[in-house]
Symmetry: C2
Subunit: 203 residues, 2 copies
């Protein structure tokens, strides 16, 4: 994995998110195991007003039927054809899910790849090039944490992290960080994390 | 308009957003004058992880063809059937746009109404029950602004405010506020504004 000092990586666990590219783009919130939650996280992670965040990478860990696990990775520096709406992002992910996976990872268009990586693989990879941050309501306030890239943030979808995931995060030395007094949607958490790093990062 | 001391109102101007309920839910980003931008603002304004923000109201000022202006108002305390995805929110707005408007305002389901209000009407209404905040990159940093509800935030969609809109905001005494060093999508701005008020509001 490339060492990038300004790297901001967001790993979002989709506990029921579909691993087949057979879903309808007309029923993203109903028939995909809440892949729609992850679509909104992609928007939050990669878009500014005037373009794509070059130093940001998103990894979506999909744990739903019928072919779990699959991890889709989207790299801001390389991605093309990404638009901010849910439907067009879903179309990109659908294409990725239809790729047969041979070996470690398969490309699925510019800046998008899909692999069989599991949570512990993703943690181990991230630990090689970044500090590990788990976003959780009972963590240290991000404004008091002095975070600086390279960073990998771990978020859960509309469900909480499982006990096994929490244990793996702790075992890997992740710092638990909170973003404020309210429990927020995952996609909103990504926006707030970015804003905090935007404010502190020396570019 | 009801006086609500914890009120957070978000007014988003959709400069080309469609004013007809005839669009396809399958082409929200292409055929609606970027109504998709406003859909994402509704999500950001009204959702927390576990429910709807009761004290928040959203007003979408639609200035596109064929029947501008229309203003759709969504009230967190009253709304039902709202889900976080773009498509289902679009379906609610489509229904509202299909209502004939008689008089000042017409109901379009629980917590949703549509009117012929223009920008200056919305400003004047908001000034009656809240402090006016215009979100703009060159404003005062929100963290130094000491904001407290009741507040009405004014945002533009994917375009800048027009000169006339800026002048109207100044004439109405709006405070210009910035959210950080990067220019962000309107929906992301709503998330950051909420987070700042969440942190400072005495509940």
């Amino acid at each position: 994995m490339q060492q990038t000092s300004h790297l901001r990586r967001f790993v979002i666990v989709g506990h029921n998110a579909t691993t087949a590219g057979t879903f309808s783009l007309n029923d993203l919130a109903g028939a995909t195991g809440r892949l729609d939650v992850l679509l909104r996280c992609v928007n939050s992670a990669l878009f500014t007003s005037h373009g794509i965040r070059q130093d940001t990478e998103v990894r979506l860990l999909l744990l739903g039927q019928p072919n779990a696990p699959k991890t889709i990775t989207l790299k801001g520096r390389e991605i093309k054809h990404l638009n901010p709406d849910e439907r067009s992002t879903a179309a990109l992910l659908k294409e990725a899910l239809n790729k047969p996976i041979f070996g470690n990872s398969v490309g699925a268009g510019p800046g998008i790849s899909v692999s069989r990586a599991i949570f512990k693989d993703i943690l181990a990879d991230a630990a090689k090039d970044s500090k590990l941050i788990a976003l959780k309501e009972d963590g240290t306030d991000i404004r008091a944490a002095g975070l600086a890239p390279p960073l990998t943030f771990f978020l859960s979808d509309n469900r909480d992290f499982s006990d096994d995931e929490l244990q793996a995060l702790k075992d890997a030395g992740a710092t638990f960080i909170s973003l404020g007094p309210k429990s927020l949607l995952a996609s909103h958490c990504v926006v707030i994390a970015h804003n905090e790093i935007d404010r502190t990062q020396i570019l």
